[in-house]
């Protein structure tokens, strides 16, 4: 932090594409080398020789059948580990821009994961991994995370910290299940979820923007409030008469004609329900609008330097209010994906920390929609992997808890600056009082 302050004191302005300093390169490069070596030694040499890693890539009844990918497990794991080591060495020697670092990290993550999968398949002979199923599960688990993370990005880019994503999602899941069941209509349930999320967003906005309450504290308190409210109504009403109040209708998967026949991508992306398609649209719209539209420019201005924004006539508090409410709306949709989206009844504390993983995704993705989506997918994958690994007998049993920890550990490493510095919008969390 001291670095940040001194930077402010001497008023250095960051140039757009600055080469990473030697120290940063050394740290990040050697971290990669260590990871690569661990991968090479652990997964490569740790796996039994002579096993094939077999990855299924298409569902049983697919129109276009994709043959399974068969790799020699040990060699593949070693090669992938070596790739990561090489990337690390290249980072130390040649450096590279920030953009290059994004690619390096992306490739390294894929390499490490693949070599891990190769290793995991050498436990028992003849096991194969349904890679497509794993990826489908990833998308399924990532949908609420992505929507929650988008909500976080919307709020925090405009300068309001949103720790209440959890509460907004929980309210969405709750209202979706309750209203969806009572009206017996998925559409009504989704609308109710959106409204519930937006209401919690409005609560956050009013207290944060109008009453200047500390936003972190506020988020925590709102989470407790929503947990209490939904838990109360669940016990008092829904649990006593599940048929009348808590059997929400589910959304059906819709195949997009044409696109759904594309091998791998088709079954993965284009045989989903309406919420997932809405999510695609939201991801693209928010990512484009935030950096290319008038609204996006204003939002970022208000989040970075509200006084300057005010000076040029942008209404700071209104912009923030709108953004926080819209964020709540999006998080509410994320909540709806848990109940209506998967035809599941509401349960007490159903989100169970998903809102906080979404918050982690926002931070890990450096407050950009693209980054947040990537992080959410990664966290969803870690979650899906847990389920799959419990079915395959890995050479050494891996406690599922350690995989569950990964998102949180990754986020701590990210904010600690091990993967380059993570910087929030400058005015994030600071209420604007006006002149």
């Amino acid at each position: 932090m001291s670095a940040v302050q001194t930077a402010e004191l001497v008023e250095t302005h960051e140039v757009v594409e600055v080469a990473a300093s030697k120290r940063v390169r050394l740290i990040s490069g050697s971290a990669l080398v260590v990871v690569g070596l661990l991968c090479l030694l652990g997964f490569g040499l740790g796996s039994h020789a002579g096993y094939d890693a077999r990855f299924e890539l298409s569902p049983p009844g697919a129109r276009v059948h994709v043959p399974a990918l068969v790799l020699p497990a040990r060699i593949t794991a070693i090669v992938l580990g070596a790739v990561v080591v090489a990337l690390g060495l290249w980072r130390i020697a040649r450096g590279g821009s920030r953009r290059a670092m994004h690619w390096i990290i992306g490739v390294s993550i894929v390499a490490v994961v693949l070599s891990f999968l190769c290793w995991s398949l050498t436990g028992t002979k003849g096991t194969s991994l349904d890679l497509l199923g794993l990826l489908q599960q990833t998308i399924f688990l990532a949908v609420p995370l992505i929507l929650g993370a988008l909500a976080g990005v919307l709020c925090e880019r405009s300068g309001v910290i949103n720790v209440a994503i959890e509460g907004q999602m929980l309210a969405g899941a709750f209202a979706g299940a309750l209203i969806g069941t009572v009206v017996h209509n998925t559409g009504a349930g989704i609308v109710a979820a959106l409204i519930a999320g937006a209401l919690i967003g409005a609560l956050l906005a009013v207290f944060a923007i109008r009453y200047l309450v500390n936003q972190v504290v506020l988020g925590v308190v709102i989470n407790v409030l929503v947990l209490g409210l939904t838990g109360y109504v669940y016990d008092a009403l829904m649990a006593r008469d599940q048929n009348t109040y808590n059997t929400p209708p589910g959304l059906h998967a819709i195949s997009v004609p044409g696109l759904s026949d594309i091998p791998i991508l088709g079954p993965l992306l284009f045989q989903q329900n309406a919420i997932v398609y809405a999510m695609y649209v939201l991801v693209i719209v928010i990512d484009v609008a935030l950096f290319r539209s008038r609204w996006g420019l204003r939002t970022r201005a208000v989040g970075e330097h509200p006084r300057a924004a005010d000076t040029v006539g942008i209404r700071v508090r209104r912009t923030r209010f709108v953004n926080v409410v819209v964020g709540g709306l999006v998080a509410g949709l994320g909540g709806a994906s848990l109940t209506i989206g998967s035809a599941l009844p509401f349960g007490k504390n159903m989100t169970n920390g998903k809102g906080f993983i979404a918050l982690a995704a926002v931070i890990f993705g450096r407050w950009s929609p693209r980054g947040a989506v990537g992080a959410a997918l990664l966290f969803g994958f870690a979650d899906a992997l847990q389920n799959v690994l419990s079915f395959i007998g890995t050479p050494v049993a891996i406690p599922s808890q350690f995989l569950a920890m990964l998102p949180y550990l990754a986020t701590i490493l990210a904010v600690a600056g091990l993967v380059g510095r993570v910087r929030a919008p400058a005015a994030d969390g600071e209420p604007y009082v006006g002149r």
Binding site: L225, G228, G231, A416, A424, P425, A426
Partner: protein, 418 residues
């Protein structure tokens, strides 16, 4: 409760002849003094809770179907539901005429004992969060630190075998160390890398939860022969002794909590360290200019805060329950934040806030078992009180109080980069 009620009132009254006593009281009642504010927030939460009870009460809803032919019916049913819920809440927390005379004298004190029992970890957790507040840090990680304290204390409690008195002291120290380490990690990360403590403490909460989940599957930690995720039982030597005879469950953890409050009060107001801590909390740049080591302060604060949360864990595992389960935290970590807010981050008010919320918890159990009103109502009441406390301007507006918004005890928000 707080520092200067008299001065505040005096300054707000018109100059000249001193107003009469009654007039002074009237002015005070309309001021935004913390006590007044708390009372109004309490009233508001009771009203909101009552509305919630009425909406979800089945007899009331049935009566509402013929509201226009007999509106009185709806109101009497609603009144019945609300009053029953709040009466049993009171009975569970303070005095219960149904059970008071059913046994020895001690039975009459049982509700109060339950209140104190529930208040003990809340006080300790509230002190933990409050201490960090005063140093300008948001410790959202009381949950994780409590879990770590419980893991350490519990492990010493069931794996080691030491003589009476010594065992419980060693276990307490272990809990303090465990919580302190987990809290200190966030402080160290902030001092070294600038990682915001809110983010790291939230994330470390979940790491602790999953670590505990893993430990509960490991032999040596897990109770052998049990299919459930439950740890071995803490030795009787390591348990915090009960304060009173059966059936009262309140234990010496309460004494520990009060001692901790006294220590924190001394630390903050009388010691050099406390002065530095508050200086950094008020203005870290000024503190740095004055030659204080801000980074070191962060680490020390978080270690102390974590240690207090660790003590809350001790109170749970060595006092209230006897073996660790996944639910050892029981929501205390997050309730502690609301306790600290209600106590305005000052030690003795935090004790009072802990007692109030402990009473809520104790009463909630009785309320749920007698009237079927879910205990989650307590969460709602607690969070609404804090929402109102945190926004004095809102309470002033609703109840038409005078005086400017008073935000003492909390800083105005600061961001992730702060």
């Amino acid at each position: 409760m707080s520092d200067t009620p008299v001065a505040e009132v005096a300054s707000s009254s018109p100059a000249g002849a001193p107003p009469s006593r009654a007039r002074r009281t009237a002015i005070w009642l309309r001021s935004t003094h913390p006590v007044v504010l708390t009372v109004f927030a309490f009233v508001a939460s009771i009203v909101v809770g009552g509305i919630l009870i009425v909406i979800t009460d089945t007899p009331t809803r049935n009566a509402a179907k013929y509201f226009f032919s007999s509106p009185g019916d709806t109101f009497s049913k609603a009144w019945h539901a609300v009053s029953q819920a709040y009466i049993t809440l009171f009975e569970g927390a303070v005095f219960d005429p149904h059970t008071a005379f059913k046994g020895s004298f001690w039975y009459a004190l049982n509700p109060l004992s339950e209140t104190l029992l529930n208040a003990t970890p809340l006080i300790l957790g509230g002190l933990a969060v409050g201490l960090a507040f005063r140093a300008g840090l948001f410790n959202i990680g009381a949950q994780g630190q409590l879990i770590f304290g419980a893991i350490f204390a519990g492990y010493v409690g069931f794996a080691w075998h030491l003589p009476v008195v010594i065992h419980v002291i060693v276990a307490l120290i272990a809990g303090v160390v465990g919580g302190g380490l987990w809290g200190g990690l966030s402080g160290w990360l902030k001092a070294r890398t600038g990682a915001h403590e809110v983010i790291t403490t939230i994330m470390l909460n979940y790491v602790a939860v999953y670590l505990l989940g893993y430990l509960l599957t490991e032999n040596g930690f897990k109770r052998s022969g049990s299919n459930q995720a439950i740890s071995r039982v803490v030795d009787s030597n390591a348990r915090l002794p009960k304060l009173f005879p059966e059936p009262l469950r309140v234990h010496t953890g309460l004494i520990v909590a009060l001692l901790a409050a006294a220590t924190v009060a001394w630390l903050l107001n009388r010691s050099k360290l406390g002065f530095q801590l508050r200086a950094v909390g008020t203005n870290q740049f000024a503190a740095r200019t004055a030659g204080m080591d801000v980074g070191r302060n962060y680490v020390v604060t978080m270690v102390l805060s974590g240690a207090l949360a660790g003590l809350a864990g001790c109170s749970q595992i060595l006092g209230t329950v006897s073996s660790i389960t996944q639910d050892i935290d029981a929501g205390i970590g997050f309730t502690a934040i609301t306790v600290a807010l209600l106590g305005r981050a000052q030690p003795w008010p935090t004790v009072l806030a802990g007692l109030l919320y402990g009473a809520f918890q104790a009463g909630g159990v009785t309320m749920q078992s007698r009237t079927g009103t879910p205990i989650d109502l307590v969460n709602v009441l607690q969070s609404i009180i804090v929402l109102f406390i945190a926004a004095p301007a809102l309470v002033s507006a609703i109840f038409r109080l005078r005086g400017a918004a008073d935000t003492s005890g909390q800083q105005l928000a600061k961001g992730w980069n702060g």
